[in-house]
Amino acid sequence: MAEASYPSDVKYHQDHDWARIEGDTATFGITWYAQDQLGEVVFFDPPAVGATVSKDQPYAEVESVKAVSDVIAPLSGEVTEVNEGLGSSPENVNEDPYGEGWMVKVRLSDPSEVDSLMDADAYEESLT
């Protein structure tokens, strides 16, 4: 997607990750800004289902042609599902970062961590 986009139905982490929270589970991905900085994503190396992820720590790697980057967990929990579709279509991270480009679903171990995340306005502000 060519135009910057920061939807209001997700929460944002300062390392350019988002979490869409539904009760005690959340879906993670990277923001429009992150995919724009990376360039074309060509490989996503997901964690295993069942892996524990910790807020502010890397849980996966995403590679552009030029470089590899860690993906940082915006919240803590246990991975319940990974986006297998990114194996064959990693470009979905660029084309639809908040939709088809999602990375993992996580059962949250400490839902109160959500309070530390930013809303769309605060995140966009942090980019300027």
Binding site: G39, V42, F43, E61, E63, V65, K66
Partner: protein
């Protein structure tokens, strides 16, 4: 961002890059376009049509005088007497220990006049080396970095595109001609490149760069950044200084013995001769990953060795690269493993080039 952009040098085409939507990054002290539309798109444009690169960050050193040829023969690894007037030759610059200071193209502009193109990150070091060793020769060394902009126009349709803008025939491979290109007079047109495709490199006055850029892009060549320049050169296994070449490695282990003529007694030639005769513990080989993932510069090879360049091949759509491996493991077809940030990735030695557009 680790470096303020205000300290970076800009090429004469900076405003063209901004207008074309380039992502500009610091590179060897310059603010350079890494990509415009995307690395894969730009890469494919060069393989299938024509692309234009601003490589004005590269340096130029002119060597002039009655002993210009003899002096260059003393410092460059190749046989400089073989460069005809209007010819071009690749060589390495070695230190006394046979380590590689830089890899260079030298163009013979006249009987006693040569122009050597340096890597941006090595220009100052090379210039100091040239000047230091020139003392015993009747030559003058001129820093021409600020006197040239450099453009590369590469791809199967590049020669025809440039020819239409030039006032004469383009030179053949590894030859040069001085032509007017898009009205830019006295442009040195060289049949050289760094992509494995047909094409030319142009050295012109900085003030003429924009008119060439405009004419070439209007004629259909796509702007291509340093990102695709790297993937293009790696698919055809051209060396990149700082990755595949360094002062700690010699030309023999790097697979550049073909451009070393030890009988010319260039600086470092005794060490190079010994390496050729006795072999080297490691050698640089091209490889592909046989499974998922992408190896990167610095990834260790299991059992010894290191990856010096790694990327995703846009044409092959797999991880490719070059690595120094123990010499006995460097035979094409040999499987090996790379430690990619803690994960073991299977790989296989291949022969050069990893990709060829001229397959029949």
């Amino acid at each position: 961002m680790s470096q303020g952009t205000e300290t970076l040098k800009r090429t004469p085409l900076h405003d063209r890059h901004v207008a074309a939507g380039a992502r500009l990054v610091p590179f060897a002290g310059w603010e350079m376009p890494v990509q415009y539309t995307g690395i894969r798109d730009e890469h494919r444009a060069v393989r299938e049509n024509a692309g234009i690169f601003d490589v004005s960050h590269m340096g130029e050193i002119e060597t002039e005088g009655p002993q210009a040829g003899a002096f260059l023969q003393h410092i460059l690894s190749n046989d400089v007497t073989k460069i005809a007037e209007n010819g071009a030759q690749y060589s390495v610059l070695c230190n006394e220990a046979g380590g590689v200071l830089d890899d260079l193209f030298t163009y013979r502009l006249g009987h006693e006049r040569f122009l050597t193109v340096t890597n941006a990150s090595n220009h100052d070091k090379d210039l100091a080396w040239f000047k230091r060793h020139a003392a015993d020769y009747d030559v003058q060394i001129h820093d021409r970095l600020d006197d040239y902009a450099m453009l590369a126009i590469q791809g199967p349709n590049a020669p025809a595109l440039v020819e239409k803008l030039a006032d004469g025939e383009l030179p053949p491979r590894f030859r040069t001609a001085t032509l007017s290109v898009a009205g830019a007079p006295d442009t040195l047109v060289a049949g050289t490149g760094y992509t494995g495709e047909d094409g030319v490199e142009l050295l012109t006055a900085p003030g003429s760069a924009a008119q060439i850029w405009d004419a070439v892009t209007e004629a259909g060549a796509q702007p291509v950044g340093l990102g695709a320049r790297d993937t293009l050169r790696l698919e055809v296994c051209f060396h990149l200084y700082g990755n595949d070449l360094s002062e700690d490695r010699g030309p023999i282990e790097a697979g550049l013995g073909w451009c070393c003529k030890e009988d010319t007694n260039f600086i470092g030639s005794q060490i190079v001769r010994a390496a050729r005769e006795n072999g080297t513990p490691e050698k640089l080989v091209p490889f592909v990953l046989t499974g998922p993932g992408i190896a990167r510069q610095g990834n260790p090879v299991k059992g010894g060795g290191v990856v010096t360049s790694g990327t995703l091949s846009p044409m092959l759509d797999i991880g490719i690269g070059m690595a120094y491996l123990p010499a006995d493991k460097g035979i094409p077809g040999t499987p090996f493993e790379i430690d990619v940030r803690g994960k073991t990735r299977p790989a296989e030695v291949r022969s050069k080039p990893l990709y060829s557009s001229k397959e029949t």
